[in-house]
């Protein structure tokens, strides 16, 4: 019996006090969340959308004169006489953001699939313990997980010291480049990928794997034609969970990448430090938000289409 049928059976007609109560409850119960999200989320987003079209103030801040200068600055540099010159520097940051977020997602996927498969093949007790071990680092503060890689890769760090004992030159540093940022991004995102992938591999029907082998599919063919297609929803869920926050990464690029290897998140943050360019920062923020929402929309539509096919 469905929920509403149960209600009808127990509550009777629409006029009964029970049913009226549940209706009141749905209004009063939802009101606090509407108020909170309206004031602390929708209103600020509306304001930042407006600020992205405003004019930069003379002493920081902004004035309400609407124009597209904030967005134009992403692509063009305005010279002294007002001529526009194409500058790729911010486009490069957008490209780096996508490249690093994409690479993070791919690397996490490549490791998460075999590890999740391994965990799913363990006996129940050990399986639960391993899932717990995957979850645990996720609860450790993000900044500390990034910091750990700073002491490993940095000057006088664990890795340079270790390489020194192997006879390589002393004083090597692996910090302040895209590779360092990527290392930290992969490390912080990994549990977010393993868990959804594990959840879908766990549900996989083992007899289908056996059937594939009975039909002379080898392990590679079985992996590619049976295991991966059947676990695709979990892989997609993991990819979204990793890719979207990675696009907005701030801690990893600002600690590991140094000042010059910026991502969109750090570029936005920079514009809102004392007396910088708020409309430009708002324009980049709107761009980032639009990119994320388009990505999520495409993913949702694809998922809906997959449902239809079934």
């Amino acid at each position: 019996m469905t929920e509403s049928a149960l209600h009808a059976a127990a509550g009777g007609t629409d006029r009964s006090p029970r049913v009226r109560f549940w209706r009141d409850l749905s209004f009063w119960g939802l009101l606090p969340s509407w108020l909170l999200m309206g004031l602390a989320l929708i209103l600020p987003i509306a304001i930042i959308a407006a600020v992205s079209l405003a004019t930069r103030g003379a002493h920081g801040g902004f004035t309400w004169d609407f124009n597209l200068a904030g967005y134009r600055q992403i692509l063009f540099n305005e010279g002294w006489t007002g001529e526009l010159e194409f500058t790729p520097q911010y486009l490069l940051i957008v490209a780096r953001t996508f490249a690093l977020a994409g690479a993070t997602t791919l690397i996490c996927l490549v490791f998460a699939v075999p590890v999740a498969y391994f965990i799913s093949r363990q006996p129940p007790g050990r399986k639960a313990a391993l899932v717990y071990l995957v979850t645990l680092p996720f609860w450790v503060s993000m900044i500390l997980r990034v910091y750990a890689w700073m002491i490993i890769l940095g000057k006088d760090g664990t890795l340079p010291r270790f390489l020194e004992t192997l006879g390589l030159p002393a004083g090597m540093s692996f910090m302040f480049n895209d590779g360092a940022t990527l290392t930290a991004m992969v490390y912080t995102a990994m549990p977010l990928m393993v868990l959804p992938v594990f959840a879908s591999i766990e549900k996989l029907d083992g007899t289908l794997i056996e059937a594939s082998h009975d039909l002379y599919g080898n392990r590679w063919v079985t992996l590619r034609r049976v295991i991966l297609p059947l676990t695709a929803p979990g892989l997609v869920a993991g990819a979204i969970l990793v890719f979207v926050p990675a696009l907005g990464a701030v801690l990893e690029p600002s600690l590991m990448g140094g000042g010059k290897q910026m991502m969109m998140g750090t570029l936005i943050q920079l514009q809102f430090g004392g007396g910088r360019n708020w409309p430009f920062g708002a324009a980049i923020a709107m761009t980032l938000m639009a990119l994320v929402l388009v990505f999520l929309l495409v993913m949702a539509l694809r998922a809906a289409r997959r449902e239809d096919v079934r």
Partner: protein, 269 residues
């Protein structure tokens, strides 16, 4: 069955998994090991010492940051859990809820937007309406982005629960409040607890929003740690980090045990 003939077995998975778990835990182990180093230069080991723990515990600025973080997290947890609980009850139990999907999306909105965008947007709002109080700014912003984390476990728990017991309670002339307090709440408690725990940890862990909104007098723990890291790595920082790692591991274990007990009880009614 011989291992070599097991079709579900892929060679090399075992070693890869071992490597994976070492990879997950080695960085944390490195911090913990360095925190006991007597030498000021973190990378040079000169001997075992607990000196840096004493100096961490005597650090006024650290304790102030901890207090700020705990206060903000406690208030944000209570606010977001209550809001999430009432929204979940309304969405799952409410009748005639129009736009049910939309209501859920509104509660989950913070998960869909990049945090940095929300952080600077909130900063602009607060500077426009002139909210200068750092604690107030943090509590409002944290309550908003913690709500979906509190909402999801509560919703899952509520959805998996049949209406029978609540109906029975109503049949026995219990009023709405009594039914909620004596029947519904105890049944969904594991979900509420997991939700509150998640909200608390998300708030404690937050850097991006807090860094944007905190003022001189309201530095949170991650923002303070960020300033320490910027000033250069030090063994005291490693000691602080170790204490925090242990605290979160203990908290996580408690939370997961409670959640596990909840699902087991649920499985054998």
């Amino acid at each position: 069955m011989m291992k070599g003939h097991d079709v579900k077995h892929y060679p090399g998975l075992g070693p890869l998994a071992v490597f994976f778990f070492i990879y997950l835990y080695a960085p944390l182990a490195v911090i913990i090991a360095y925190s006991f180093n007597a030498n000021r230069v973190a990378g040079v080991w000169t001997g075992f010492s607990t000196h840096w723990y004493a100096s961490a515990l005597n650090n006024r600025a650290l304790m102030n940051a901890l207090e700020t973080s705990l206060t903000v997290a406690a208030v944000a947890t209570v606010v977001s859990t209550l809001i999430a609980l009432s929204a979940a009850l309304a969405i799952i139990r409410g009748k005639n809820v129009r736009y049910r999907k939309l209501c859920e999306t509104i509660v989950n909105l913070p998960l869909l937007l990049p945090e940095i965008v929300l952080a600077v947007a909130t900063l602009i709002l607060f500077s426009l309406v002139n909210v200068q109080n750092g604690m107030l700014r943090l509590v409002i912003a944290h309550s908003a982005f913690c709500t979906p984390f509190a909402f999801l476990p509560i919703r899952a728990r509520l959805q998996g629960m049949s209406l029978d017991l609540e109906e029975a309670s109503a049949d026995l002339y219990a009023d709405r409040w009594t039914t909620f307090r004596r029947v519904t709440l105890p049944l969904i408690f594991p979900g509420v607890f997991s939700g509150a725990m998640l909200a608390f940890l998300i708030s404690m862990d937050d850097f991006i929003t807090s860094n944007m909104l905190s003022t001189g007098g309201s530095t949170t723990l991650p923002v303070y740690i960020f300033s320490l890291i910027r000033a250069g790595t030090s063994p005291e920082l490693n000691a602080i980090a170790t204490l925090l790692i242990l605290a979160s591991l203990i908290l996580a274990t408690v939370a997961l045990l409670v959640a596990a007990r909840g699902t087991r009880e649920n499985a054998e009614p």
